[in-house]
């Protein structure tokens, strides 16, 4: 019997559902749930991590991330404008910086900032201590990435926008600040969100600076607890803590994009 087109398609769809369910069922059946629960879901360990995981670790992760993002955004915007400048040395410096810092691991840069700056300027301290070092250390790398994103955003704003602004008598700087850059930032919201999420996870590199009980962040807290209790449950909790940041963040950005959609 020959099947008609719609029957064939429906059959193919059901077969795919079945295969999918089968794979999951096998995985569930084959896994040793008792041992898994023992290794990753000890309720007493989860309870012992609260409230510190929220009040200290998560709070610090968010602070480090926002600090690095703010630093990177400001510095990255400056680099982007330098890349687009008429002044040739600005372009050279910005290009060299971007190439250099995109090529170095964030861990290395963090080390250099955390230990290099105190050696170079023994009289001075980085403002904000660990927070400042992380904001600058991670921000330096993030700025290199963001600079290229922002530059692309600025160049994606139609040339007529700058012309219209200049025609109204605005200076190049005023036109950039009030007309071009606000539009560029709307364009680069999605890639900048990516950068923010990457930074959230990179903030776990803070451990190389030797964090204390007060400056500890989520990953380090999870690993310390893991070592104390000789159990992997803290890793699960730490993972959920990151998702507690990144998932709502995606939602917020989606809202933001919708709100700007009519003003594009």
């Amino acid at each position: 019997m020959k099947l008609r087109r719609r029957q064939r398609e429906r059959l193919s769809l059901w077969l795919q559902y079945l295969a999918f369910i089968a794979v999951i069922a096998v995985a569930i059946y084959a896994a040793d749930w008792g041992r898994l629960r023992e290794a990753f879901f000890r309720v007493d360990i989860i309870e012992s991590m609260f409230p510190t995981i929220i009040t200290v670790a998560l709070r610090n992760t968010i602070l480090y991330t926002l600090g690095a993002f703010a630093f990177g955004l400001v510095f990255g915007t400056i680099l982007a404008l330098m890349r687009l400048s008429r002044v040739a040395p600005y372009r050279w410096v910005a290009t060299a910086y971007i190439e250099l810092f995109r090529g170095l691991p964030a861990l290395l840069v963090l080390f250099l900032v955390g230990y290099g700056i105190p050696i170079a300027f023994p009289e001075r301290e980085i403002p904000g201590g660990v927070f400042g070092s992380i904001a600058i250390g991670l921000g330096l790398t993030a700025a290199a990435y963001m600079a290229e994103t922002i530059r692309a955003g600025i160049q994606a704003v139609p040339k007529g926008q700058m012309e219209a602004a200049r025609t109204l008598g605005m200076s190049h700087f005023t036109a950039m600040r009030t007309i071009v850059i606000p539009q560029a930032f709307r364009i680069v919201i999605p890639p900048l969100t990516n950068e923010l999420i990457l930074l959230t996870k990179d903030s776990s590199l803070a451990y190389v600076l030797g964090v204390t009980a007060q400056t500890i962040e989520v990953t380090k807290f999870g690993r310390d607890t893991l070592n104390d209790r000789v159990n992997a449950t803290p890793l699960l909790v730490a993972g959920l803590a990151y998702l507690a940041i990144t998932l709502p963040l995606s939602q917020v950005v989606r809202r933001l994009e919708l709100r700007y959609a009519k003003a594009r």
Binding site: R83, L84, S85, R86, R91, I154, Q155, P158, K159, G160, Q161, M162, E163, A164, A165, R166, T167, L168, G169, M170, S171, H172, T174, M176, T178, I179, V180, P182, Q183, R186, Y260, K262, A263, R264
Partner: protein, 279 residues
């Protein structure tokens, strides 16, 4: 100025403009009197838009001099921002600021450039929106407007700066035919109010009815100019006649099988990325 005579609104002397090896303007001499409406017509690539863009220095002339209201804009030391304050410009593609409401589009330059207070800027903006028939669109974003409404808002934005001279660069070329009339009506009213206007256009009826003078350009030079009834009604030059016949009666020309003598204008050479926003 040593002359006792008042200078014209726009004075152009031996203007040349090249894009790389391509010479677009080959020596233009040209004047616009105060309160005069001049329509510049001509085939694509004849340099009429470039001429207009030289007047407010969106394009830097290669050689020659331009005065606007007695101020030499081609002087390397000219305060170009303050000169541009007195020159409104309307673009083919409107170029409204899409991230701002119509009202903010009209007030932002008033506030940032003329340092007007919010209340005064908004009052002037609303007056000008009324002038172009968009009173009810103050709170809308440009993307929510039709092309014709966007272009009228763009005209109102320029007028809010109270310019002495208005430049129009093919203001209706990007519009659907049924929306052209609204924009031309606004421009006609503006002309009747005594605004000095330089209009690059393909709207021959507008040129005939509204212009004090029509200038026909071809190949980077002014071929002929004069009152509309002369240039459009009884053109002296063969090039003008052939252009007008092609514009006014395109199907007839096609039947004659004449080769199209006006190739598409070469794109101006792509500027290096670094210069894009250094207008």
């Amino acid at each position: 100025m040593t002359t006792t005579q008042p200078r014209p609104a726009v004075e152009i002397r031996d203007l040349h403009k090249s894009f790389g090896p391509l010479e677009v303007l080959k020596g233009i001499d040209f004047e616009v009197g105060h309160g005069e409406v001049v329509c510049v017509i001509g085939p694509s690539g004849s340099g009429k838009s470039t001429l207009l863009r030289c007047v407010n220095l969106l394009e830097e002339p290669t050689a020659g001099k331009i005065w606007v209201d007695g101020v030499e804009v081609t002087d390397p030391d000219v305060e170009i921002d303050s000169v541009r304050r007195g020159i409104g410009m309307v673009f083919q593609s409107f170029n409204l600021f899409p991230h701002l409401t119509v009202l903010d589009n009209l007030t932002i330059a008033q506030r940032r450039v003329l340092r007007r207070g919010r209340a005064e800027a908004e009052r002037i903006a609303r007056d000008n929106l009324e002038r172009v028939g968009l009173t009810d669109k103050a709170g809308a974003f440009p993307a929510q407007l039709s092309g014709g409404q966007q272009q009228r808002a763009a005209i109102a934005r320029s007028l809010s700066m109270e310019p002495k001279l208005m430049l129009f660069d093919e203001p209706t070329s990007a519009l659907d035919p049924e929306l052209v009339g609204d924009v031309l009506t606004v421009m006609r009213k503006l002309a009747e109010d005594g605004m000095t206007m330089m209009v690059v256009t393909h709207e021959m009826a507008f040129a005939r009815d509204v212009a004090d003078r029509v200038v026909f350009m071809d190949g980077g030079v002014v071929v002929e100019q004069g009152p509309p009834r002369e240039v459009l009604g009884a053109p002296q030059h063969e090039r003008t006649r052939s252009f007008l016949s092609r514009v006014l009666d395109p199907t007839h020309v096609a039947q004659l099988g004449q080769p199209d003598q006006a190739p598409e204008p070469p794109e101006p050479p792509q500027l290096p990325a670094d210069d894009r926003h250094n207008v």
